[in-house]
Amino acid sequence: MKIKEWLKTLTFYEILLGMKITMSHLLRYKPITIQYPHEKKPLPQNYRGMLALLKYDDETEKCVGCDLCEAICPSRVIRVVSSEVPGEPTKRYSKEYYMDMTRCLFCGLCVQACPVDALGMTREFEWAVYDKRNLQLDKQQLLAIGDRAFPVREKRIEFQHPNVAHFNVAFQSIPQKES
């Protein structure tokens, strides 16, 4: 037993074994890396990327300014300034809507909290910027992201009384985000 180990040390047995492995990888060359900007890995179906605000198919905003997203956000990313729709005292909308994406941890709680499905998670992830102020998005930018990420919009269903704020809870299960 001792002689065997001696021989192994003398002949660099372990080192040769390791060199055999590296050589086999060289001969059976099959890279496991990809050339990222040129080729991209397919994202998983439930990928949680950049947040976006959505619209109905008649170009009206879905957001009703309820502040639930702001309330549930664990990193305090979202700030909503809610106000009445002019002339319609029962309806509300978000006058201003800010997201500080430098703090966002992409948990998706705001999307689940939204009663009208006004928030969506896109599949965008290449949001590296030179100036981090570019990551503090306002409402227009978020709507623009929503426009380009979700071209197929949800239909507005008017089944409520016009004087009642519409919380379309049932919309949660309608699959409309095709991308």
Binding site: I15, T22, M23, K30, P31, I32, T33, Q35
Partner: protein, 353 residues
Amino acid sequence: MLDFGVRFALTVSQIGVVMVAVLLTVAALTLLERKVLSWMQDRMGPMEVGPYGILQPVADGLKLFFKEDIIPAGANRVMFMMAPVLSLVPALIGFAVIPFGPNWTVEIFDVEFKPFIISDINIGILYILAFTSIGAYGIILGGWSSNSKYSLLGGLRAAAQLISYELNVGLSIVGVLLLTGSLSMVAITEAQAGGFWNWYFFAFPFPQAIAFGVFIISAVAETNRVPFDLPEAESELVAGFFTEYSGMRFAFFFLAEYANMILVSCVATVLFFGGWQAPFTFLQGTGSFMWVSGIFWFAFKVSAFLFFFFWIRATLPRLRYDQLMRFGWKVLLPIAIGNIVLTAIFAYIFPGS
């Protein structure tokens, strides 16, 4: 006067050819090393510059050339500027005695001229050993003059390591010198003529395979490469002795490392694997085109050694410092001395073989 002029022109052009060849090989090596390394590690290596990244050395060179040259505050300016040159020049100067092809003499304008050896001096191998030891000064001074603790530690490590392993390189080649009876690189190559069984790795009275093992391990240690890259251990010393260097000075250290690698491969080829001799005499070719096969076999053997360097770099982790010292002094040194004793005994019993 004309005689001197012709000799001067011929020698300068020969030096130019060898320098350009070595520097081009260095450029190719930087790419090839990254490629081979990444292939062994299931990666692709550089792929962006040119098709499959083959222009990467050009991009690297341009980048380093145009980078700002920073001399840190508190550095010893003279030493700091001298160190890269001091490490690059000895690495390049060693190629002067390497025989790249057959030992032919051509007469041009009544001047005797050896086209494949810059100078065949009779202490060739000593000359190479002497200059590679001077290269250590470049590393040590570079580490010391940077006024940085990482550089200083790297330089100190380099000093200890190079002294320890220089000794083993010197002792491991003594067997070959005993069998040849000459220090001239040309004489050593010519003594190994006629088939691979005459190469000193396999040669009759006492095969120098063990000496070759000691030599190649010490050579890896002398060129500061993995697994003996303690002077530039990234995980401990940022970049070791050239932490504070940037731009062209950094490039000089880089060139020196690769040129040293090539030089060591050349020396291993000449001493143990017959230099430009083909493994079988019929592969050597005859007549005035023998030099083509000579240079081919030389380049082939050198590239095999260079590939070996890449290979062990992809395989082995770095040694701990005390292990490195123990291995050098307690393992390699006795083996090298034992090899000298045995070779001397065998050379005495079988004289003239």
